[in-house]
């Protein structure tokens, strides 16, 4: 008779899931930061341009 000793070995799936979740959350945060950085740089450039145009007039 076969007797199972202890829980089944399903650790690979669990490690994969925990790593994948960190990758997803981390990637989203980094992508959002990059998008924000790009928009803020454009916003500063437009504001500088507008300020220069206002001074000129």
């Amino acid at each position: 008779m076969m007797v199972q000793s202890g829980p089944p070995d399903t650790a690979t799936y669990y490690r994969l899931a925990y790593t994948w979740v960190v990758v997803l959350y981390g990637t989203y945060a980094v992508v959002l930061w990059l998008r924000s950085r790009r928009v803020r740089a454009q916003l500063r450039a437009v504001e500088r341009e507008e300020a220069r145009a206002t001074r000129a007039t």
């Binding site: 399903t10 799936y13 669990y14 899931a17 997803l24 945060a29 959002l32 916003l43 437009v46």
Partner: protein
């Protein structure tokens, strides 16, 4: 303070990340392994926490969409858009960690079970909501159409939660969100609540960060004088 000087990620995001690290450490090192499923049972903590956060985010989409349709306040529309994007992130976590649990426990990555299928529909509806926002040039029309879709998408949430009672499904019954006491040992319950708290904080802080990004993008669009790709 000018919007461009305000940090994208605030103190709440830092608290959320620290909470998530603490919850991970507890789940990995200080939570017992379940006897029948082995370590794969621990996927439950990240899977269910992400599902509740997705419901929270999509609930915010619905609520803010109703507010927008009522008051035509662009802040409500922006908040709905932000919550929609973060909701899609959490739904993606749910739909990818589920199969990673299902393969060792059910022997299959996926089944066309009512709860799984309805959650996949919700993912497509949420993705459609975001695609719609990018497809309509006129800002008022974009906000109105997407608000209607946002409300309709959220109507799926109660059906998803109740699907395990309404249909003969393979998906496990709720362990926590049910009228009776939670059917889980206290060690595991504490781990779950830690992860749930961390995920909720992360969800709220990401929605806040995405909202701040939306404010800057709309300010840029106003300066450039176009309705653009919101």
């Amino acid at each position: 303070m000018s919007s461009t000087k305000r940090p994208l990620f605030d103190w709440l995001f830092v608290v959320a990340v620290l909470s998530l690290i603490a919850a991970y450490v507890r789940a990995v090192f200080f939570t017992p392994i379940e006897a029948l499923q082995g370590a794969a049972q621990k996927i439950y903590y990240v899977h269910v926490s992400a599902a509740i956060s997705a419901y929270l985010a999509l609930g915010i989409v619905a609520l803010m969409s109703i507010v927008y349709l009522w008051l035509h306040d662009e802040r409500a529309d922006r908040l709905a858009e932000s919550a929609g994007e973060v909701g899609l992130l959490f739904l993606t976590v749910v739909l990818t960690t589920g199969p990673l649990w299902g393969k060792p426990i059910w022997g299959a990555w996926w089944t066309w079970d009512a709860r799984l299928t309805l959650t996949l529909f919700l993912w497509f509806l949420t993705a459609g909501y975001l695609v719609l926002r990018g497809a309509v040039d006129d800002a008022a029309m974009r906000s109105r159409y997407s608000a209607v879709l946002g409300v309709l998408a959220a109507l799926l949430i109660p059906f998803i939660h109740l699907s395990v009672y309404l249909f003969n499904t393979l998906h496990p019954m709720p362990i926590l969100l049910k009228p009776s006491k939670p059917s889980m040992p206290s060690d595991m319950l504490i781990t779950f609540f830690s992860m749930w708290g961390a995920c909720t904080l992360l969800c709220i802080s990401l929605i806040g960060a995405r909202y701040r990004y939306g404010v800057d993008r709309d300010a840029l669009r106003a300066l450039e004088g176009n309705g653009g790709d919101r």
